[in-house]
Subunit: 232 residues, 2 copies
DNA sequence: AAGTATTATTGTCCATTTGACAATAAGTGA
DNA sequence: TCACTTATTGTCAAATGGACAATAATACTT
């Protein structure tokens, strides 16, 4: 049984790492920090820190993300846990990855605490990271791609009002492919988005129709079991 | 940064719970143990125990599963981590769920260590479990269903040699639905299974053709990128 | 031996979806 | 007005999917 009375079982600590994804200029980016302290000083890393002994994992993630990047009120979700005994040079630290998707332009991230710098870095241009963060990022990006394929999470990264071409370009980037415009539009016919009365502004060509996610219709579809998202 | 030098961060411990699924008599079952010790003595629970301070999570899961059920050499995969501060009555225990799929008849599970009894219990007939194990089981079963939909994992639970009707019944049970036999067979045309020279034995009706998973063809398809599994 | 019951297997028809590609629309700027 | 660019819609054939019918192989019954 759980031998929690044994002192030698309390020799590890537990952390949370926050992988924050966004979409901008046709690229999926991730929010990283530059470390101001050893180990891995000046290396880029996923924002993360220790969980307090009496703190819930999700609460801890939100606190840690805020402490390091000033991002507040972010809707985090759990991803994988990483626990190789030697993954942290200073001791046994098991870390639980959490991720969130957000609209980059709706937030302002700013380095604080022991973060020296923060930056949105396109996923394909991420440098080598501290600790085993390359593996954590890669595994969590895989999870994101899986979610994009079967859940309407793209709308968390797209602007509130988006064009169908923007939506398509997000999928093309994630799945590393190109799609036919006409066929993409047919494919998303069953996805609950609503046509707005507005059009794109300040473009030097025919302005595109703007759309937004139709939350009400989505909820209704889920309730009546008429919903299956398939985007691959 | 990680303040692992602070003693008060070493007041939690870490465990692994092993959710083992199998398929028998048209039902997906899970391997549970009856606890021989407090807390929750005599309650059914998911087999799990503490991870050693220098032990890898996956190694720990295999060791723990063997200690409690004598199941050896099981291919476990990580699922969700559960860490509510009060989930364990005797202290802060964060647990990482691991799951495996196996052919029930190819293994013999036997209670040992502090497990008083082990049993394969159909997923729809599981009694109330110890700790937050109801939530852990339910979340992991959801994960299983998701995997069944997009990966060829059904073959880990089906007998080595199976009939198409058995395969269909697994999906019908998991997705809680019924499918047309002819259409099911069309749907799986692209799945790498091979027709064997044998037929079903000892049935009182027309014996069905036996099939087995075609590992070679599967690997070839993955390599050449000609593989997408869609079973929903 | 013939007929019945049961499950396996295959085929057909039609509606829907998918993929490739063409045609048209609505803006800007020269 | 014309060229240029991206948006949007339409077409057609192929592939897929769902409902349902027809046939096959085995054991069991009479």
């Amino acid at each position: 049984m759980y031998k929690i009375e044994f002192d030698n079982f309390f020799t590890y600590s537990f952390s949370s790492d926050c992988i924050i994804f966004g979409f901008r200029n046709g690229e999926i980016s991730v929010l990283l920090i530059k470390r101001a302290m050893e180990p891995f000083k000046d290396k880029w890393a996923i924002p993360g820190d220790l969980v307090y002994p009496d703190e819930d994992l999700l609460d801890a993630s939100k606190r840690i993300l805020f402490e390091l990047t000033q991002l507040n009120d972010i809707d985090l979700h759990q991803a994988q846990t990483f626990g190789k005994p030697n993954r942290h040079p200073q001791g046994r630290v098991i870390t639980c990855a959490h991720f969130a998707l957000l609209r980059i332009n709706d937030f302002h991230a700013e380095a604080s605490s022991w973060a020296k710098e923060v930056a949105w870095i396109p996923i394909h241009k991420v440098p080598e990271l501290a600790f085993d963060h390359d593996e954590i990022l890669s595994s969590t990006y895989d999870l994101l791609k899986q979610k994009l394929a079967i859940e309407p999470v793209c709308f968390d990264m797209l602007p509130e009002k988006f064009t169908l071409s923007e939506m398509q370009s997000l999928y093309e980037y994630a799945f590393d492919t190109t799609m036919d415009k006409a066929n993409f539009r047919k494919k998303i016919k069953s996805i609950p988005i609503k046509k707005l009365s507005e059009k794109q502004q300040n473009v030097k060509h025919r302005p595109a129709q703007l759309f937004s996610f139709d939350q009400d219709r989505f909820i209704e579809m889920v309730k009546t079991d008429h919903y299956t998202f398939k985007m691959y």
